[in-house]
């Protein structure tokens, strides 16, 4: 890994954007959290477990985790049309799957846990910020979980592996171009979700996952600190 690679905003290759995290931001919800990396801000609210309606969606074997990802119309510089679109539906599914392995849903047959994630400001890495916020909100809601989930996007700019891409880096055009790999893992380093957008060889993918695990540890500490200080904003970097 070349360390003299210059990132557009002058960060080191393994340096995260400044992070802010706060738990307990929505009094009406059973659990809530905010997670911000750089200019990306995500807020998450958890409701339930509550009875699943309509009834035909009920699962008598185990509960359901219903994740709704939404980007606010004002979150980007060109106003986006409000409401669910193809991308939002896909990210909702993916994020739900990223969290499901740690949530003990067997305790809630016929019930649903609703997770609403709103992106109020977007600057790349919104799904990762959303998963980080949702993970804290689920814990805050008292849902039985085996672990917390941290999420981080690693990328390859030309030939260099970097963590936590921002929008300028996602649009990087030189050399081999940008590759974006959002990864979600538990605090023990087990991967619950990985996506790949772009091209990368297997050697570099291993390197990227290693970088994600390193960065994940930092995010986990922030999540833990935020949960232990409900109502306080935790700043990092």
């Amino acid at each position: 890994m070349s360390t003299n690679f210059k990132r557009p905003d002058g960060r080191k290759v393994n340096e995260l954007r400044p992070i802010r995290a706060k738990v307990g931001i929505i009094p009406n919800a059973d659990g809530s959290a905010m997670f911000a990396t750089g200019n990306t801000i995500a807020i998450a609210a958890v409701y339930g477990p509550k009875k699943m309606h309509p009834q035909h969606l009920q699962n008598s074997e185990k509960g359901t985790l219903r994740f709704t990802y939404n980007m606010n119309s004002f979150s980007v510089s060109d106003r986006i049309k409000p409401g669910q679109n193809r991308r939002a539906i896909e990210i909702s599914k993916i994020s739900g799957w990223a969290l499901e392995p740690v949530v003990d849903l067997k305790k809630f047959p016929n019930e649903v846990i609703d997770v609403y994630v709103n992106i109020i400001q977007a600057d790349a890495g919104t799904r990762c910020a959303g998963i980080n916020a949702a993970s804290m909100a689920l814990a805050h809601a008292g849902i039985p979980m085996s672990d917390l989930v941290v999420s981080i996007s690693v990328g390859k700019l030309d030939k260099t592996i970097v963590v936590d891409l921002d929008k300028a880096e996602e649009d990087f055009e030189e050399g081999e171009g940008p590759t974006d790999i959002p990864v979600s893992l538990t605090s023990k380093g087990k991967i619950t979700h990985i996506q790949l957008d772009g091209k990368i060889n297997s050697e570099q993918l291993k390197e990227a996952i290693k970088a994600a695990k390193e960065a994940g540890k930092e995010i986990y500490e922030i999540q833990k600190k935020a949960l232990k200080n409900v109502g306080e904003e935790i700043k990092y970097g």
Binding site: D30, G31, G48, P49, K50, K51, V102, D104, F108, N110, E111, A139, H140, A141, G142, I143, P144, M145, S146, D147, L148, T186, S187, K188, Q223, K224, L227, K228
Partner: protein, 222 residues
């Protein structure tokens, strides 16, 4: 062996010991006791457990709950006690004669009742008002608190709630689902009792709570 209570997050190691057994909301893995829920960890008598501090009310058999009648059927009443399951009060569980064609004469839709969960089956919760002190709640006010703070509001064998009852002269019933019913002679007394309970809720995790509440009651008494 008793350790100080600590706020833990899911997946966090509470204690590393081969002698300690995992209790409620914990799991043992490679000799480490791991929290499965966000809450306060406690290790006593070689058992580690996590006491929840947040989350919705989870019904349990034997709990006393306050609910609202939301439906009538031929066999009893449907009750909303703030849980996902259906709560049902059968006419067999009412200690008086009930005319099956006029259930509303006993409890009508919108009435508040205090009941006990006597059974929990696959189909939902079964309530009972057979014992003394249960049944319809007349007048007074009902308000909600965090259901996880209810044990502190009741206190050891009802010590805290009795303290508030004596100081305010109000009749108070606490439902474990987080609803509290207060009935006093005047509205001022009821509001004072409500304030006292909210004070307990706010300071539930602090040490020496009973002394603080005694002090608070004497300071704020009109």
């Amino acid at each position: 062996m008793t350790e100080e209570r600590q706020l833990v997050v899911p997946g966090e190691v509470i204690i590393k010991s081969d002698d300690v057994l995992p209790g409620e909301n914990t799991r043992k893995e490679n000799g480490e006791i791991i929290a499965l829920r966000y809450g306060l960890s406690e290790v006593s008598d070689n058992i580690a457990k996590v006491i929840p501090v947040s989350g919705v009310y989870q019904a349990r058999r034997g709990n006393v709950v306050i609910g609202e009648i939301v439906g009538l059927t031929s066999a009893g009443w449907l009750v909303d006690v703030g849980v996902a399951e259906n709560a049902f009060l059968s006419i067999m569980e009412v200690p008086r004669y009930v005319d099956k064609n006029a259930l509303q004469e006993v409890f009508d839709i919108g009435d508040a009742i205090i009941a006990k969960i006597w059974n929990m089956g696959g189909r939902g919760i079964d309530l009972s008002v057979k014992l003394r002190g249960f049944g319809k709640l007349y007048e007074g006010m009902i308000f909600g608190v965090n259901p996880n703070k209810i044990p502190r509001i009741i206190g050891k064998e009802g010590s805290m709630i009795n303290l508030i009852k004596d100081a305010t002269g109000c009749n108070i019933s606490v439902g474990q689902n987080g609803l509290i019913w207060i009935k006093g002679d005047t509205l001022d007394k009821e509001l004072f009792a409500k304030k006292a309970i909210l004070y307990v809720e706010e300071n539930a995790t602090k040490e020496g709570l009973t002394d603080n509440v005694t002090k608070w009651l004497s300071e704020n008494k009109q």
